[in-house]
């Protein structure tokens, strides 16, 4: 509930209710931060630019690029950015 940027959930009696599923932007914050791992989200970013580019390069639209948020179109182009320092 705390991490959802679009108030998709409301607090129920002994659990959390999925009140506004249509507002969900599939960011996946709820799934990662659910202490009992009760949520599953196929997370990704709703960026047409990235998906079309991925499709044009013959790559998978779902996994190739992530972008979005408040600061501009896409962020998956440079070598450095796609390098996986933080990821193993």
């Amino acid at each position: 509930m705390q991490v959802c940027p679009h108030a998709v959930f409301t607090q129920g009696k002994d659990h959390v209710d999925l009140a506004q599923p249509a507002s969900c932007m599939e960011c996946g914050a709820c799934a990662l931060n659910c202490p009992v791992q009760a949520i599953e989200v196929q997370s990704g970013v709703g960026c047409a630019w990235a998906m079309i580019n991925a499709a044009l390069r013959g790559k998978d639209m779902d996994t190739e690029c992530s972008c979005g948020g408040e600061d501009g179109s896409c962020c998956g182009e440079s070598k450095e950015q796609s390098c996986g320092c933080g990821e193993k």
């Binding site: 990662l32 931060n33 997370s43 990704g44 047409a48 079309i52 979005g68 408040e70 933080g86 990821e87």
Partner: protein, 356 residues
């Protein structure tokens, strides 16, 4: 700030797979030096923000990752996490004006918190690593770190807790709400929600426009030579309509999805050009009709495409929604633009060959 170079290079990411692994969490973690910052936004900072907004050297608006001291923090002062994008870091440090704080800047490759979280660079791994790198556990007595809420798509707090013993506390979405938040450490529902007001939409338009400006100038120049100033103006209008007007009017255009919103706006923008191109008394009726039709077909298609591409800049589109939209509308746009271009070429050929 630059004293941190050694640590920075050994820890940050390099394309060479040999040197990629970071040894900060090894048995003897190299504790990096603490840097100092303040809450003042200088004119140099403002210039940097302006250039960032215009897409100038987009990846160079960076802050050195590491631990920063703001004011005179003690062992009990709160720790705030941020991205190493100047706009993110500056928003945080200026929001904390007059307060003491520790700021832990993660290496997000110069990308803002939300984008980086989506990509995973503002993530559990980097947070845990940076806590280790900076020796944060020896700097503060408490074990709590305030992370911006929009970092949550990259962070798993139970995982951070398990690996670093630090408790992640999700702060508000916007840094400017921090002073209010810190009074109670409870974010109001409004602080937790992402809005996308006119100001936030407009601030994105320069980058969108700059991306297409060169192509627009070339197309407009060609059209001026081949078809006259009205056609050139139509090209400029389509780009400005798609990259500036569309974001500004986003919530006011009827229909729900971005493509149809773009088609509606495009049709309105195309109308005067259709009238202008379709009422040339020196040309035969079919040529007028073809001119008007090409404007009505090409301009809405182009604007709808810009509109669809704006999905990535917004704060609320979902991957499945956008994917559906691509499959549904991109073929329509392509068909419209294709037909329009064929008509325009036919018209140009008959004019150039002296047919009309």
């Amino acid at each position: 700030m630059d004293k941190n170079d050694n640590e920075g290079s050994s820890c940050s990411c390099t394309p060479d797979p040999q040197t990629r692994s970071c040894s900060c969490l090894a048995d003897h973690p190299p504790v990096s030096e603490i840097m100092t910052t303040d809450s003042t936004i200088t004119s140099a900072n403002r210039l940097d923000h302006f250039l960032a907004r215009w897409g100038w050297k987009r990846e160079s608006h960076r802050v050195e990752p590491g631990l920063y001291r703001l004011g005179n923090p003690t062992q009990d002062t709160p720790v705030f996490a941020s991205a190493n994008y100047t706009l993110s870091f500056d928003a945080l440090r200026s929001a904390l004006a007059g307060m003491d704080a520790w700021i832990l800047v993660l290496d997000t490759k110069g990308i803002n918190v939300w984008c980086a979280a989506g990509k995973g660079t503002f993530g559990t791994e980097e947070l845990v690593r940076r806590i280790g790198c900076t020796g944060l556990a020896g700097v503060v007595r408490h074990r709590k770190i305030i992370v911006p809420q929009l970092g949550a798509p990259g962070i798993s707090w139970p995982e951070v807790m398990r690996r670093s013993k630090f408790l992640v506390e999700y702060g508000p979405v916007r840094a400017k709400d921090l002073p209010e938040y810190l009074k109670t450490h409870n974010a109001t529902p409004a602080m937790r929600r992402v809005e996308f007001p006119l100001k936030d939409r407009l601030v994105l338009t320069p980058v969108e426009f700059v991306h297409t400006a060169l192509a627009m100038i070339i197309v407009a120049a060609l059209l001026w030579l081949l078809a006259g100033p009205v056609a050139a103006l139509a090209a400029v209008s389509a780009v400005l309509g798609g990259t500036v007007l569309f974001p500004a009017l986003l919530p006011y255009i009827p229909t729900k999805d971005f493509s149809t919103k773009g088609l509606v706006l495009g049709l309105i923008i195309a109308l005067p050009f259709a009238v202008s191109l379709g009422t040339n008394p020196t040309l035969p009726g079919w040529a007028n009709a073809a001119g008007a039709a090409s404007a009505l077909l090409i301009m809405p298609a182009v604007i709808a495409y810009f509109a669809l591409n704006f999905t990535g800049c917004t704060t609320f589109t979902s991957r499945t929604g956008v994917k559906k939209e691509i499959f549904r509308y991109v073929p329509v746009m392509a068909l419209m633009a294709g037909t329009g271009v064929v008509l325009a070429i036919a018209l140009a050929i008959s004019r150039l060959s002296g047919g009309i």
